[in-house]
C-alpha cells in the first residue's frame, strides 16, 4: 500500500475544500488524496471537521469552495467547472458510488435486515428482488448475521444493527466506503464485532475513509492516519509515524496524550 500521492491516480481526490457554517470555518482548505485499496483513518478532537469532511465526500454536506473528485468525477457539482450543483438524479447516482456507515446506524426501522440491504439494490441498482435477496444474504453472511435476515432493526443489538449498516453500504458495490464514528454509539463489548467486519473488508481491498476514536484499531488497520485540528489537516502519515511518541507535531502529541489518559 502506498502513502505516496503521486505513483497512482487518486480514487478520492480532495483539493482545497473549505466550508463555513455562518462565521465558523469548519473546513479550511483541506486536501487529501486516497488511492484505491487504501484505508485512511481520520482522528482529531471533536469540532475539528472530521465528520463534516466525510459528509462532504458524498455530498450530504455541500462545500463552499475547492473540489472533491471520486474516480475523476466532481462529487456535488457538474463537471463543467462553474460550480453548478448536480441535478437530484445525478447526485443520487454519484452517492450510490460511495457507501456510508453512520454513527447512529440509521437503519430503516420498517424494513428487515435483508430489506434494508435490498432497497438500494432494487431501486438504485435495478436488480430483481430475488437477485437483491441473494446479494443481501451474501453480505449478511459476511457480517455474521445470516440468521437475522428477517429480523427488524428493533430486534437486533446495536452491534448487529451496525453490521447490517455496513452490509447495506458495501452491498451496493461502492468505490469507497465512508465510516463515520461507527462504534461511538456502541456499548464497549459490542465494538469488537463491528471492527472485525471493517478489518475483513480492509483485507479484501475495500477503499475506506474512517473517522474514529479507536486509536488502537486505527494503528492496526489503516495505511495512513490523518490528524485534523481546527478544520484543517494538521498531520498525515503512516500510523507508526503519526502515533509515535516523539512526533514533532505538538497538537497531535497533546491530543494523543489526552486521549490515552482518558481511554487507558
Amino acid at each position: 500500500m502506498s502513502t505516496d500521492q503521486n505513483d497512482a491516480p487518486a480514487l478520492l481526490d480532495i483539493r482545497d475544500v473549505a466550508k463555513s457554517f455562518g462565521a465558523v470555518h469548519v473546513l479550511r482548505s483541506v486536501s487529501l488524496q486516497v488511492t484505491r485499496g487504501e484505508v485512511v483513518t481520520v482522528i482529531g478532537p471533536s469540532g475539528s471537521g472530521k465528520t463534516t469532511l466525510l459528509r462532504c465526500v458524498n455530498f450530504l454536506e455541500s462545500y463552499d469552495s475547492g473540489s472533491i473528485r471520486i474516480d475523476g468525477r466532481e462529487v456535488g457539482f457538474r463537471d463543467t467547472g462553474n460550480r453548478q450543483r448536480r441535478s437530484e438524479g445525478d447526485l443520487a447516482a454519484m452517492r450510490a458510488e460511495t457507501g456510508m456507515v453512520f454513527q447512529g446506524f440509521n437503519l430503516f426501522p420498517h424494513l428487515t435486515a435483508a430489506g434494508n440491504i435490498m432497497l438500494g439494490l432494487t431501486k438504485v441498482r435495478g436488480k430483481s428482488s430475488a437477485e437483491a435477496r441473494s446479494i443481501a444474504e451474501h453480505w449478511l453472511g459476511r457480517v455474521g448475521l445470516a440468521h437475522k435476515a428477517d429480523s427488524l432493526p428493533a430486534e437486533l443489538s446495536g452491534g448487529q444493527q451496525q453490521r447490517v449498516g455496513i452490509a447495506r453500504a458495501v452491498a451496493m458495490g461502492p468505490k469507497i466506503l465512508l465510516l463515520d464514528e461507527i462504534t461511538s454509539a456502541l456499548d464497549p463489548e459490542l465494538v469488537g464485532e463491528v471492527l472485525e467486519v471493517v478489518r475483513s473488508l480492509a483485507e479484501d481491498g475495500m477503499t475506506m475513509v474512517m473517522v474514529t476514536h479507536e486509536i488502537a484499531f486505527a494503528r492496526d488497520a489503516s495505511s495512513r492516519i490523518v490528524f485534523m485540528a481546527d478544520g484543517g489537516i494538521s498531520a498525515v502519515g503512516p500510523p507508526r509515524e503519526i502515533l509515535a511518541a516523539d512526533n514533532t507535531n505538538e497538537r497531535l502529541r497533546t491530543f494523543l496524550a489526552r486521549f490515552r489518559a482518558s481511554h487507558f
Binding site: A93, R95, M100, N106, F108, V124, A169
Partner: protein, 216 residues
C-alpha cells in the same frame, strides 16, 4: 310515527348518498392536495414554504361556515361562479387540505434526519426517499389524526345543507318540515352519522395495529 319515518327512508337514503359523496370527494381531494403542499412545506424552497404556511394558517383561522359562504357568495364577485355543490366541496376541501398539510408536516417531521441521510447515501432520489423510506414510517403517525379529520369531514359535510344542497341533514330537515316529527328524525340522523364515523374509527384502529410493528 314509525310509518312516517319508513315512508321518508328512501328520501333520506338519497341525502345520505350525497353526504357520502361530498365526504368522499373532500377527503380524497384534500388528501392529494394536502400531501403535495405538505411536502412543499417540509422540503420546499423558502418562498414555497412561506406560501404554504400562509395558506394553511389563513384557512385554519377562518370558521368553516364563513369559508363556505365566502366561496359561494364571494367568488362570483371575482367572476368565478360555482354551482352550490362544487362551491361547498371546494370550501370543505380547502379547509381539510390545510389540516392534512399540518398532519403531514407533523408526521414527516417526526422522522429522524438520519433516515433521509441513510436513504441519500445509498443513492435514492428525493421521490424514492419519500416513497420507500419517509412515508412508510410517517404513515403510522399520520393515520390517527387523519382518520379523526375524515370523521370531521363527514360531520362537517352537514354544513352544505346551508347552501340548499340536499344532503342527509337537509333531507332530514325537509322530512321534519312535512311531518313535524323533529326528535325521532334528528335521532335517526345522529345514529346514521355515528354509524359511519364509528365504522371509520374501527377501521383506523385496525390499520394502526397492522402498522404497529414500526417502532420509533
Amino acid at each position: 310515527m314509525l310509518i312516517q319515518i319508513a315512508y321518508a327512508l328512501p328520501f333520506l337514503a338519497q341525502g345520505f348518498a350525497l353526504t357520502l359523496w361530498v365526504s368522499l370527494l373532500v377527503v380524497v381531494l384534500s388528501l392529494i392536495a394536502g400531501i403535495i403542499l405538505g411536502v412543499g412545506l417540509v422540503y420546499g424552497p423558502a418562498p414555497l414554504r412561506w406560501a404554504v404556511r400562509i395558506f394553511s394558517d389563513t384557512i385554519r383561522g377562518i370558521p368553516i361556515l364563513v369559508l363556505i359562504f365566502f366561496v359561494y357568495y364571494g367568488l362570483p364577485a371575482v367572476g368565478l361562479h360555482l354551482p352550490s355543490f362544487w362551491a361547498a366541496v371546494l370550501a370543505l376541501t380547502l379547509f381539510k387540505t390545510a389540516q392534512v398539510v399540518e398532519y403531514l408536516r407533523g408526521a414527516v417531521g417526526s422522522i429522524p434526519k438520519g433516515q433521509s441521510e441513510a436513504a441519500m447515501a445509498i443513492g435514492l432520489t428525493f421521490r424514492q426517499r419519500l416513497v420507500y423510506v419517509i412515508f412508510p414510517q410517517a404513515f403510522r403517525r399520520f393515520l390517527p389524526p387523519w382518520i379523526n379529520g375524515v370523521t370531521d369531514a363527514v360531520k362537517g359535510s352537514a354544513l352544505v345543507s346551508l347552501l340548499g344542497i340536499t344532503d342527509l341533514m337537509q333531507a332530514i330537515n325537509q322530512v321534519i318540515g312535512r311531518t313535524y316529527e323533529a326528535m325521532p328524525l334528528y335521532i335517526l340522523g345522529a345514529l346514521i352519522y355515528f354509524a359511519v364515523n364509528y365504522a371509520l374509527s374501527l377501521a383506523s384502529r385496525r390499520l394502526e395495529r397492522r402498522f404497529s410493528f414500526i417502532r420509533d
